[in-house]
Every structure is written in C-alpha cells, then in structure tokens.
Symmetry: C2
Subunit: 335 residues, 2 copies
C-alpha cells in the first residue's frame, strides 16, 4: 500500500461532489477493444469503426445525466509509432516515447470528437465534447523507472533486437515469438492537466483526457517539467484522475463482462458486488494476472480506498449500468 | 473576397468583448521559427529549445493582462511524420494526413504545456495553461480540395515519386531539388472545437488550440464528421479562430520584424501602421508572395474586415508590443 499512500500524500484532490449537486461524475477508462477491430487490427479504419461503436455505450452514460470524463489506452497505437520511428530513423529524427503517447492522445481524441456528438444527439443529450492534451507526473526516484518491465511494440529476431539494445533500449527474449522492447512503467503521481478537465466538466462538456496513461513527465529540482521515456498504466492514471476531478464513480471498460476468480480455469467464477477489503484479499491470493486484470483491480481498489464511492470493471456494452452499480464487478468501500 | 464572404456567412462568431470587460483577448499564431532551430532543424531537442525560447515573449503578452490563445504551424513536424508513414508502410498501416496534423497538435501542445508555466511564473502571472485537440471544418465543395497545391514533406527522385503517384498521391517536379508531394489546402470554414477554447479562456486559462491549421474535417450530408487528406493554412485558421472566440487582436508572429513592400529588392520598405483597404491594394499589386507573407496578409485582412480591432504581423520577440499596436505591421480598419 506504499504506492497508494504516496499518491494520497502527493496529489491535491478536488473535494468530492465537485460537480452539480446530486449529479454523478464518472471517469470511464476505455480499453483496447474500444479502439481496435475484434481481431486486434489497428488500421485507421479499424480504429474509427471501433470508436464509433464505443460512442453508443458512452452516450448512454451521458444520457443518465452523469458528468463524464473519458480516458483510454493506446497500446497498439504506440506500438505502431515505435515501428515508424525505428524504420525511418536514418531519414528523420526518432521522437521519444512521451511524444508517441501524446500523438495517440490526439488521434484517439479526434476520433472521439467526431464520433461522440452524433451518438449524444441520437440519445437527446447534445452535450459538447472536448479533448485535452494531458501530462501525468511521475516521481524521478520511482524504482520502476530503473526496472523496465512493460513490453511494447513488435517482436523482432534477436539480431535486430541487439541493434536496438546497442542504441540504449532494453529488449527481452520472449522465446519463439522473438524479442520485444520493455519500457519503464512508473506510478502516476499527479495529473498535471487535471484543472482544465474540471473547468470543462463544470461547463457541461464531456471531456477526453489522460489517454494512454497521460504523457509521462518529471519535475526537476529547478521546477522544469520534461517528458521521459516511459508509459504509465492507463487504469492507474484513470483512478488518480478520477480522484483529482472529484469523481464519484470510476468505470474500467474492458472486453469481459466482469472480473473472475480462478480466471481461465474450469472453476472460474465472475465477481459481482464486492467490498474493497475482500477484493484486496483475492488480489493478494494471486487471482488477477499482472498484464491484464491486475492493474484494473489495483486501480479500482485505489479509487475506492481514497474515498471514491464506487468503482466498476465491466464490459463496454454495460458501462451505463456499471456506473449505477448494476453491471460488471462493482467495488465499494468496506463497511 | 468570395472566400471571406462565405466564411462570414457560415460560421457563428462569438460576440466581441466576450472576455472580461476592458481586457484584450488576443490570438497569437506562432510560425515555424518558434518551433525549430534557427537552421530549420526539427529534432525533438531543437523543438523543445525553440519553444522554451518562445515562451518568454508569450508570457510577456499574458503579463500585459491579455487573455491569450496560442495557435501554431507544424510544417516540418508533419513532413517528418509523412516520411515515417512512407518508410514503414509495409510493416504498419500508414495514417492519413489529418491524423498527422492531430499528432503535431499534441506534441507541440505538450511542449507548450511544459514551457509556458515557468515563463509565466517568472513574470508573476502564474496562469494555468491547457492544450486542446482541435478540428477545423472545410467545405467538401471547396475547389481547392480538387487542386492540390501545397508542397509538403521531403523531395524525392522522380522514380521514387512515381511510386507514390501510383498510390494515388499528387507529386510535383521541382527541378534540381527533385519531386515533392502537393496536398490540398482548403479554406477553413468553422473551428469545430472553438467552444472549449472560449470556456477555458473564461476560466483564466492560456489556451493552445487549432495547431497546424486544425485537423481538417468535412461534415457529410448525414451529419457525420470525418477527417480528410488536406492541410489548412494556419494563419487563415488563426483569423477564423480569433473571430469565433471574440478576440480583439490577432498577432501573427514570424521571423521578420514586419511585412515589407518590394520584399527582397533593394527598394524594400517595411510597413508600419496601415489601414486594411491600403493593405488589400498592395496585396492586389502582388507585393506578398503566395507561399510566405501572402497567407499572413490575407489572414490579417480577413480578421480586421470581419470586425477585429487590430491585426499585427511581427517578429516573435515583439509580440507583446504588437498586441498593443506598437510593433510590426499593424493593420486596422479603414476609417
């Protein structure tokens, strides 16, 4: 719990109930399935089609009267940008990983700006939509910065990976699949651009923010803020953003209807409503895999433990019900 | 003047004096020199250094008490992205030109988010800064969409250009330099995301918006908004944005201290204060080159003709004085 404690100490959360009295303020984190084809392809047309489909469930949440902040992942998109960097490196200067994250915020943000207004209009809630470039501050002393562990981009044969290692990158051997780059994934400490999110929410906007976990930056001793080569987990960032904008509810949309115990075994059992203490116990027992459900469960627990009313992990199609606590795995405070 | 007339008819401008009473609201358009090294190089470190330098003059404008919207060009940045698209096309899907524009909004926006707060703090005006993803609508019937004329990206030998032409692109022979891609540059008709700019200005933010002329989109007959393969002139977009957010002043920052008559000849003569009718006459006489000063002069004229108090075209170092009408070429209404 050290990480959570540090976040709590460091960031300046907005007071709860920052929105209109009695109105739910929800942060919705969209997973990769909201932005790629069912087979995982991520051509521009695949991304546009997926986001157009996702706009319907999002508009349903807005139609309940909730104030909504959207955030999203960007794995395949950043992977593609890294490949372009590599293949063009002798002709144009490669850009750092924080720039790649920024680039995906704008392309995914623009697709949401195109797709949401028609979906909102169809449901009779013609609310304006805005997309913000958003930076997430991390601690330069975070030990995770020194232990790259998050695989990213494409697999390469050993001899090609070796060239990238000579250029200072960290690559790991994944056996038959080949080698893959691993990058640091530090803890989010502060959403530096949370203030415009709150201002736009208060003005009636649906806000897209902190995509891809936010652009990773550190603040140097002299106050300078600068990007770093890292990616931040988008669900952990969503939990922090939710707290900083005074949201009541955090919904993590994914491609399964709920979190399961003993996932992938014949004894798998979906979790419905659960108190955060029980979920932490199951987490400690190792029920939730590091690279998939683990960060979502961790993000949900952090949000509720820091005072959030409710977190839910649910299928994209049921996010409106999940906001109300009636679908997915719903996590609430321990009584 | 047909283009101006259409823009006036089509867009819904905010009323003048939309900001605080008596407070100047200024849109500042940053040119390429604010984002690249003096020799034109655009590696990430060159861009960060240039934007850090530009932050000083921008902060000076804010320190005068003005409300400030920043917009910016993106030529070298988009050029680099196009090269990456080409060189990686067999491995990852190329993305369309509107996505490239979006990508540059986020990287340049993030650099401004990093660079401005320290500059503002040094001048005692710690205003918050926000960067928005911004789309600019164009008319699908704009004849400029059918006549690609804006050169973009790198020069290639004829045989390589021919391959791109076979893929549907338009390339033009520039003689000894080689061939270069030309793209459509339609008229901006509406800044679709002007509303969040106004909302953030009203909440005290310095706002970065509509970079690279905005992400070019069209609205289909069924209401669908979608990106198109084009780039929009950043100064014409700045003039439209200034009108839509009810700005008093438009300043176009560039790498010369003022507009000149007979530029590049021994009889060159810088223009100081000028009324818009006189400037239009000089424009008609051919004083301002298409690819350089032409669009800046056109943008300044449009802004003043549509009711803007003052436009200025000035060196980056003098933008605070230019906002006040005391530096650069200052264009005001004809009396």
């Amino acid at each position: 719990m050290t990480a959570t404690a540090r976040v709590t100490a460091d960031a300046a959360p907005a007071p709860r109930g920052h929105g209109r009295a009695g109105v739910t303020r929800a942060v919705i984190a969209l997973g990769g399935n909201a932005m790629t084809a069912p087979d995982g392809r991520a051509r521009p047309e695949d991304q546009i089609a997926a986001i157009t489909r996702a706009a319907g469930p999002i508009a349903e949440v807005v139609a309940t009267g909730a104030e909504v902040v959207l955030t999203h992942g960007n794995g395949p998109q950043v992977g593609n940008l890294l490949v372009k960097n590599e293949l063009a490196a002798t002709v144009v200067p490669p850009v750092p990983l924080d720039w790649c994250v920024a680039q995906t915020q704008a392309t995914i943000g623009a697709m949401l700006l195109d797709a949401l207004p028609p979906a909102l209009a169809r449901r009779g809630v013609p609310r304006p939509v805005a997309a913000l470039v958003t930076r997430t501050r991390v601690d330069p002393a975070d030990p995770k910065l020194r232990e790259p562990a998050k695989p990213i981009g494409r697999y390469l044969p050993a001899e090609q990976a070796r060239v990238m290692v000579e250029h200072g990158q960290v690559w790991r051997d994944y056996g038959a699949k080949g080698w893959r780059r691993v990058v640091a994934s530090p803890e989010p400490v502060e959403i530096l651009d949370a203030a415009p999110v709150s201002a736009l929410l208060a003005n009636g906007f649906v806000v897209v923010a902190a995509g891809g976990g936010g652009i990773p930056v550190v603040r140097d001793a002299d106050g300078t803020v600068r990007g770093i080569e890292a990616v931040i987990d988008k669900d952990l960032t969503a939990a922090l953003l939710a707290r900083m904008v005074g949201a009541d509810v955090l919904v993590i949309a994914t491609d399964v209807p709920a979190v399961s115990l003993r996932y992938g075994t014949p004894a798998a059992e979906p979790i419905g409503r659960v108190d955060v203490r029980t979920l932490r116990r199951w987490q400690a027992e190792g029920h939730f895999a590091d690279g998939s459900m683990g960060p979502k469960v961790e993000a949900a627990c952090r949000f509720v433990e820091s005072g959030g009313r409710r977190a839910a992990i649910a299928g994209l199609d049921t996010i409106a019900e999940a906001v109300a606590g009636r679908a997915g795995t719903v996590i609430e405070g321990s009584s």
